[in-house]
Amino acid sequence: MINFTVEDKEGNRQQIEAPDDMGLSLMEVLKASEYPVLATCGGMALCATCHVEILQGQDGLGDATDVELDQLEALPEFFPTSRLACQIRISELLDGAVIKLRGEDN
């Protein structure tokens, strides 16, 4: 199990515990934790509705793929540490990270 912190749009922070041995994506864990993440495309890096900003701990997450960057770059709002949650695997590298939700939620 790993722990990381999620900050919602209003700025409320909550610690989330997630298994790091089930091949889950960050998007799936956020949805399972009842965050309003649409994830319309189901995790194929097509819709960018799971857009998150990594506030802390981005170093261990690796670089975004080209497909992911194409989506992120097209967004009206984009931050230097923007990622798509569906493209981040839950692993020990995420332990202690702080993630802010940025995607559209309706």
């Binding site: 649409l38 189901g42 194929m44 819709c47 989506q71 770059e73 097209a74 984009f78």
Partner: protein
């Protein structure tokens, strides 16, 4: 006017297989899709990717599955309207429906099946105050008729291929073109990016990098926009048009105005027959939601079979439906 028994909105794998299930029950189908070809996401987004969870196929490429489905439904002679988006639905006195597309194609059907997958891809909008107020009054998300911009001042925003391509194209048409991009570099095609930099260097266009849209101005029609650069300084530009080009995002689109119960971009259905809350309208595949829903092609196939058996009563109100296996009855072509 096209007349059919069942009108299926969405020609992805589930919409296509629904034709087969309808055909077994002697119901004819017409399919409408916003994309110019059948297959939905499979053909548009990942035609060469393998799929591993289609029963009976240890592995099949997405496009191959679509091609097989087209073969499978051939005996039932489905008809298609492709490259058009369903806009309007009107209920007739006898309970049937007439659907109208954005190109004014009309389809009369006894039953409507929404198999729209992710929905239709619509332009992403920047978060700007009064944006909606200026839509159609200076703010537009696509260039349908370039002549609209002749001898006008146009600001484009975005950094993808379409922002680059339209900047180059409109520079020949408009009075002045300004491209605003929030980064220093472009991810679009390197040739187009180089051309845009050259044009800016030659003074043919204005290129404003590392800046974001902040505010729209105008009394009725747009007449100015304010940008904010990375030093937080504001730049005001007088313009007739703003074209934000921030990619496409899947949305339900006009379907969301049909009185259906929608939860998080998906249509709620009754799992007994995948009917929506509106009589004669069903929703199957990725576009529906219910407790335990799995967005899988194979689940959509199952939903299509159940749903068509339920729809039979609207197409043949005087007939009793008897369930038959294809192994017993074969496939009786139309």
């Amino acid at each position: 006017m096209i007349t059919t028994d069942i009108c299926i909105i969405g020609a992805g794998p589930v919409g296509l297989f629904a034709v087969f299930e309808a055909g077994l029950l002697k119901m004819r189908c017409h399919l409408i899709d916003a994309l110019p070809q059948v297959g939905g996401q499979l053909s548009e987004i990942y035609p060469q990717k393998p799929i591993y969870d289609i029963p009976g196929y240890p592995e099949i490429k997405a496009q191959e599955l679509v091609d097989n489905l087209m073969d499978q439904i051939k005996p039932f002679k489905p008809t298609f309207t492709l490259g058009e988006r369903v806009d309007h639905l009107s209920k007739q006195e006898d309970g049937s429906y007439v659907i109208t597309t954005n190109d004014k194609t009309q389809v009369h059907a006894q039953v409507i099946v929404i198999a729209g997958g992710l929905g239709c891809f619509e332009p992403r909008k920047p978060a700007l105050e009064k944006l909606e107020h200026f839509e159609g009054k200076g703010v537009t998300y696509m260039v349908k008729n370039p002549e609209l911009f002749r001898d006008k001042n146009v600001v484009l925003a975005g950094g993808g291929d379409s922002a680059l391509d339209w900047t180059i194209y409109l520079s020949e048409v408009a009075k002045r073109v300004t491209l605003v991009h929030r980064n220093e570099t472009f991810r679009g095609a390197p040739d187009s990016a180089a051309k845009v930099f050259d044009m800016a260097h030659e003074g043919k266009i204005d290129l404003i990098l590392s800046a974001n849209l902040k505010e729209l101005g105008g009394n009725g029609h747009l007449d100015s926009i304010t940008l904010i650069d990375k030093a937080k300084a504001e730049i005001k530009i007088n313009t007739d048009f703003l074209i934000p080009l921030f990619g496409l995002s899947p949305k339900l689109g006009p379907i969301s105005e049909w009185g259906l119960t929608v939860d998080k971009n998906a249509i709620e259905v009754d799992t007994r027959d995948y009917s929506t809350g509106v009589e004669r309208i069903y929703a199957i595949g990725d576009i529906n939601t219910y407790p335990g829903k799995l967005k899988l092609i194979l689940c959509g196939f199952h939903e299509a079979a159940i749903m068509m058996h339920s729809a039979f009563k609207y197409v043949y109100p005087d007939q009793k439906l008897s369930f038959k296996y294809t192994t017993v009855n074969g496939v009786n072509a139309f």
